[in-house]
């Protein structure tokens, strides 16, 4: 990861930004400050969860993704769409998933490989790992890259709990490219593989290679942009061919609890929404909560991937649609045996790297002095966490003051008497 932050997950339209504190207060890693009336994103702390995009009342925060037209780049002789499981949930009356598959072919792709297929393989591989008895439980799902990055920043001691498997999108991209090379005779680089993403976190993870040595896709497109192209195209489809290859297990990865349910375990936990996830991680760190729980599925977005900010549909409505779409699907249509890949194909090519962004200094004594100072400053502050100083909390403000990036007088509610007594 070394989170190549030059690739920004979220960008700011400074003309639209009013300098309100909505995004700053919402950010789970305190990566935003408001300076000179505009929000500032500290990318080294950004996990790409998209909370700021969701909350911004002025549409000033934008999630980054590739322009759809990149698929038409001449270097690609064969273009494959990788729809995320949550994409199906965006459409009304999609009783037959083949309409979506045909729609993707109409908007410019030559082929599709549904990510729900990769998801079924990851599910089966995880079940296999559980059966082997080698997993240290509870295992934490790695499907949501915002969670993986959050753990790398804030919960270093939970790193060993992460399931060391590639994501369904990674697996799907790799298989799709290999199959296309075989089918078309083109070189791997002549095949364009494009993931249709529900969220900026997946855009970032796939483009930088969170757990892969090299990115496995050629581009990551936004769910909503594809949605508006797909709608008219799907209306023109009359007799769709049998193109969709997914089962209940795969499609259910779209919502919270879907991955966990596919493991056929009784003792699992699924939490979604940043605040809930943070609470679970904190308890897990305290050594509680773990008793008997074998698997922990965490999704940064409320409802799971259906809650991704790049989607168009309300997450709960999308889930309801998926529930009815999956009704007549087989349990699982993809099995490890029929793909015949070695174990290395499914596991991390590299482990995600711990990020030391919380650490105040390399030297413990220097860090302690800084912390002392921060704690002293915090005591002077009103504990309102109002955000009007441009920092998300009084404590974050104290850190900024200690680091020299803010002035104590930026606090509008500071107790002047307290300071005067100190000075005197």
């Amino acid at each position: 990861m070394s989170i190549s932050k030059q690739l920004h997950t979220v960008t700011l339209d400074t003309d639209k930004c009013k300098g309100c504190v909505a995004c700053m207060k919402r950010c789970p890693t305190e990566a935003i400050r408001v300076r000179n009336g505009k929000a500032q994103i500290h990318y080294e702390k950004c996990i790409g969860c998209g909370e700021c995009v969701r909350i911004c009342p002025h549409n000033a925060k934008k999630a980054s993704f590739d322009d759809f037209d990149i698929i038409f780049d001449k270097k690609y002789k064969y273009r494959i769409a990788l729809p995320a499981p949550s994409l199906y949930g965006q459409f009304e009356h999609l009783d037959n998933l083949n309409y979506l598959a045909e729609g993707l072919l109409k908007i410019g792709f030559d082929d599709i490989f549904e990510v729900a297929r990769g998801a079924e393989l990851v599910s089966e591989y995880t079940r296999k790992l559980f059966e082997s008895g080698k997993l240290k439980t509870p295992v934490i799902s790695t499907a949501c890259p915002a969670i993986v990055e959050l753990i790398m920043i804030r919960f270093h001691n939970l790193k060993d709990r992460l399931l060391n498997l590639l994501t369904p999108a990674d697996i799907s991209a790799k298989i799709a490219r290999e199959e296309a090379v075989r089918k078309t005779g083109y070189k791997p680089e002549e095949i364009g593989v494009f993931f249709i993403s529900p969220c900026p976190a997946k855009v970032h993870a796939l483009k930088t290679g969170l757990c892969e040595n090299n990115p496995v896709v050629d581009g990551v497109l936004s769910s909503s942009e594809c949605y508006f192209r797909l709608l008219p195209a799907m209306k023109k489809v009359e007799n769709p061919r049998d193109l969709s290859e997914i089962g209940v297990f795969g499609i259910s990865w779209a919502f919270s609890g879907g991955e966990a349910a596919s493991l056929l375990k009784d003792r699992y936990l699924a939490a979604d929404g940043m605040e809930n996830v943070l609470n679970v991680l904190k308890e897990l760190e305290n050594g509680k909560l773990a008793e008997g729980i074998e698997f922990i599925e965490l999704n940064a977005c409320v409802g799971g991937c259906v809650g991704g900010v790049l989607n168009v549909e309300n997450p709960f409505v999308a889930k309801a649609k998926l529930m009815s779409q999956r009704k007549y699907l087989p349990i699982s249509k993809n099995h490890l045996a029929s793909y015949n890949r070695p174990d290395e194909f499914y596991v991390w090519e590299k482990a995600p790297e711990l990020q030391d962004v919380m650490r105040l200094d390399e030297n413990l004594d220097v860090a302690m002095e800084k912390l002392q100072r921060i704690n002293r400053i915090t005591e002077l502050l009103p504990a309102l966490d109002c955000g009007s100083c441009g920092a998300p909390s009084c404590r974050a403000f104290a850190m900024d003051v200690a680091e020299g990036t803010a002035k104590l007088t930026d606090c509008h509610r500071i107790d002047l008497d307290k300071i005067l007594t100190l000075k005197g």
């Binding site: 904190k282 919380m358 860090a367 912390l371 704690n375």
Partner: protein, 146 residues
């Protein structure tokens, strides 16, 4: 280097409020992360503090937690004015619990609190007088960076 505590935290552990139990350990954890203390040390501090806090809530209607950090070790003192422990040796046994049923139904009171506190700290001392209260002192050494 002097052994004088460089950082000191004091918390009132609220005895009526189960949901807020753990806030002291949360704050300490956050500070230790900012210091760059090794994850396994933080984990041990988190466990012993959390267990201690919960114990004070269950048995003593709360108390005080003092955490002192210097460059060699983290010292945690938990002081309550609860009923006290009549037989400390018995209380240290795994699975021995006097927690009432309503607490056990919450998943606490499995009799692992004190044993875990001992297991995860480098040094632990308990002083307890029946009717007056209990003081638990725990020390976790900070491993020097290799």
């Amino acid at each position: 280097m002097t052994n004088e505590a460089k950082l000191r935290f004091e918390f009132d552990v609220d005895g009526d409020n189960f949901t807020s139990a753990g806030t002291a350990s949360e704050t300490v954890k956050y500070n230790l992360k900012q210091l760059g203390i090794a994850p396994d040390i933080i984990r041990r501090v988190a466990i012993v503090m959390y267990e201690g806090e919960i114990n004070m809530v269950i048995h003593a209607k709360g108390g005080k937690a003092v955490v002192e950090i210097d460059s060699d070790e983290i010292n945690i003192t938990l002081k309550d004015v609860g009923p006290g422990i009549p037989d400390i040796n018995l209380a240290m046994q795994e699975g021995w619990s006097t927690a009432p049923d309503n607490i056990r139904s919450l998943g606490f009171g499995a009799g692992m609190g004190l044993p875990n506190m001992k297991k995860y700290s480098d040094k632990m001392e308990i002083e307890s007088v029946v009717g007056e209260g209990t003081t638990v002192k725990m020390c976790v050494k900070i491993r020097k960076e290799a």
